[in-house]
């Protein structure tokens, strides 16, 4: 009874998001910041699979997002490919870089691995900043075109308008979310959870721990690449600033805030971290102070993030309910 209920809840939430531009047609600014949040939620799903489900921390994930972003930006800017092929190409190239990084690094013990991912993020960002002939250096790659309008017969969706791009971002998010769901609920996902809980037990039961880590690291980097490609199409420009170290740290904060190891964690985290401060008009400098304080509170009172807090509340309510049922 519990699982279908959760699935229904997620579907209802998605439906609500899809209807948002129609329910509130005037709220263009809200749509704009929600779209930005979705651009973060996609790489956050990649990080959630890595960190929340497998127990590997990556502090350089926006570097992989950048690889996907620049790949897609170059293809679209020069008219070599449309949006969807560019997105796929971005995922493939980011995944390939993830695979190359993972091969030597995933044999390291966890704390060394974290430091190496930090370095990889910085190295990738330095490359974005300095390979002027390819990435446009500090100026980046401006003038990325939005996808061509989509004619659905009943209506034409224009991706240059906020509503149209919001639907596009939501669809990309939904696809990555579905992929996350498939992985987590599969035998592969069970092996990843076993690795997080006890690598020795996982290996003793027949799991090739290194190969599994490499596979999920590659998938995770590819998902980050999709998010990066989406973000630069939305902003119509790729710039190194979008993929610097601080952005990688923000991504980790999004996953922790939303709840690592929960399917909805990345979305909740991204909306709260990106959209809420925008909506409340919090100054950028103050944002870090506020979120620093929130993180301390979370670490003290809700170590499993907001989704963990919600799950604990629901559990408490249902157990109280069943207690009442037994002792009326």
């Amino acid at each position: 009874m519990r699982l279908p209920l959760a699935t229904l809840g997620v579907l209802a939430l998605l439906a609500l998001l899809y209807l948002l531009p129609i329910i509130a047609p005037g709220e263009l600014y809200a749509l704009h910041i929600l779209t930005l949040a979705l651009c973060y939620a996609v790489p956050a799903i990649g990080l959630n699979l890595l960190f929340g489900y497998t127990g590997l921390v990556s502090l350089g994930h926006m570097g992989f997002a950048g690889v996907g972003a620049y790949t897609a930006a170059l293809l679209m800017k020069h008219g070599l490919a449309g949006f969807v092929p560019s997105l796929v190409a971005g995922a493939l190239v980011a995944g390939a870089v993830g695979l190359l990084v993972g091969l030597p690094c995933l044999r390291l013990r966890s704390h060394f691995f974290i430091v190496v991912t930090l370095a990889i993020g910085v190295i990738l960002n330095t490359l974005f900043n300095n390979l002027d002939w390819l990435t446009g250096g500090a100026e980046g790659l401006p003038g990325i075109p939005r996808p061509q309008p989509l004619d659905l017969g009943l209506m034409v969706i224009d991706f240059r308008r906020p509503q149209g791009f919001f639907w596009l971002a939501l669809t990309v998010f939904a696809a990555i979310f579905l992929l996350q769901h498939l992985i987590v609920r599969s035998d592969f996902g069970r092996s990843l959870a076993a690795i997080r809980q006890d690598e020795t037990v996982a290996a003793a039961r027949g799991v090739d721990v290194f190969a599994h880590k490499l596979a999920i690291f590659t998938i995770s980097a590819a998902m980050a690449g999709v998010g990066g490609a989406l973000k630069v199409t939305f902003l119509r420009a790729a710039a190194p600033l979008s993929f610097e170290l601080m952005e990688s740290i923000n991504l980790v904060m999004i996953v922790i805030l939303g709840g690592a190891g929960y399917l909805l964690g990345p979305l909740i985290g991204a909306i709260l971290f990106i959209a809420l401060p925008e909506a409340l008009r919090v100054a950028n400098e103050l944002r870090l102070v506020v979120f620093g304080a929130i993180l301390v509170l979370l670490a003290l009172y809700a170590p499993r993030g907001l989704c963990g807090l919600a799950a604990a509340l629901i559990h408490r309510l249902t157990t109280i309910g069943s207690l009442h049922a037994r002792h009326p």
Binding site: R190, A204, A211
Partner: protein, 250 residues
């Protein structure tokens, strides 16, 4: 027919200290084998070398005739060498049922990725029924949906043992199954192990310090001393051997 397990000339040293010194051991028939010896005799190191957690410096290990001494832990586990741990390790966040189900699944990465894509639920009902039956064998069926962390230490040991059996091993290595178990429950534990053995008829190789427990459980005892196999035979024979008595007392 080759022996189920054949260990020859295995040596393992740690920073100059010889833990295993030319160990030879052949297990030809299924049965419950007790591996005993004073502290530091090399029992746990031999376990680690058999399951692949440590690699031997030299020597050969054959499983049904095939050499396995160079394979890593997960490869040996897939070939049928499974172990439990002295400190008892289960997946604490998973339910008892999920612990057993995880053990039964095909863990080759390729097979898992295909399963993710196809959502195949290969004979799920049969697997589920088998997992529940295994839990019932050790009276854990009432805890099927409880997280392993909620179990008592003794129950976790039983969960670990049935989880490992669910991988369908050819050799089950049990590292001190009686340690940390309430003495009043030892008889129950022994009965469970007998019942599981009677059902599977594979090799159970059991390291154990509790003499009363192992002598009444095993049909065959292997005694190690100073990194070598000192004696082997039926429990009564071994207990009467002057060499063994000297090793324990001397």
């Amino acid at each position: 027919m080759p022996a189920i397990l054949e260990i020859a000339g295995v040596r393992k040293a740690f920073a100059g200290i010889v833990a295993l010194d030319d160990v030879a051991l052949t297990i030809a028939q299924p049965g419950i084998y007790g591996l005993i010896g004073p502290n530091g005799a090399g029992k746990t190191t031999l376990f680690d070398v058999i399951c692949g957690r440590q690699l031997a410096d030299s020597g050969t290990i054959r499983l049904a005739g095939e050499r396995i001494e160079a394979l890593r832990v997960h490869r040996r586990a897939r070939l049928g060498i499974s172990r439990t741990f002295q400190e008892c390790r289960v997946l604490l966040e998973e339910t008892c049922l999920d612990n057993v189900l995880f053990a039964t699944q095909d863990k080759r990465l390729g097979a898992e990725l295909v399963q993710t894509a196809t959502r195949s639920t290969r004979a799920r009902d049969a697997i589920l029924a088998e997992a529940r039956r295994l839990l019932a064998l050790v009276n854990l069926d009432a805890y099927a949906n409880a997280p392993a962390a909620a179990l008592s230490y003794g129950q976790r040991r039983l969960l670990e043992i049935v989880s490992v059996l669910a991988t369908r091993p050819r050799i089950l290595l049990l590292d001190e199954p009686a340690s940390g178990v309430n003495p009043t429950l030892l008889v129950t534990l022994r009965d469970f192990l007998r019942r599981l053995y009677d059902e599977r008829q594979i090799v159970f190789l059991v390291v154990e310090h509790n003499m009363e427990f192992i002598m009444s459980l095993a049909s065959h005892i292997v005694v190690m001393h100073q990194g070598r196999v000192l004696a082997q035979g039926a429990p009564a024979e071994v207990q009467a051997s002057p060499q063994v008595i000297e090793a324990y007392l001397g």
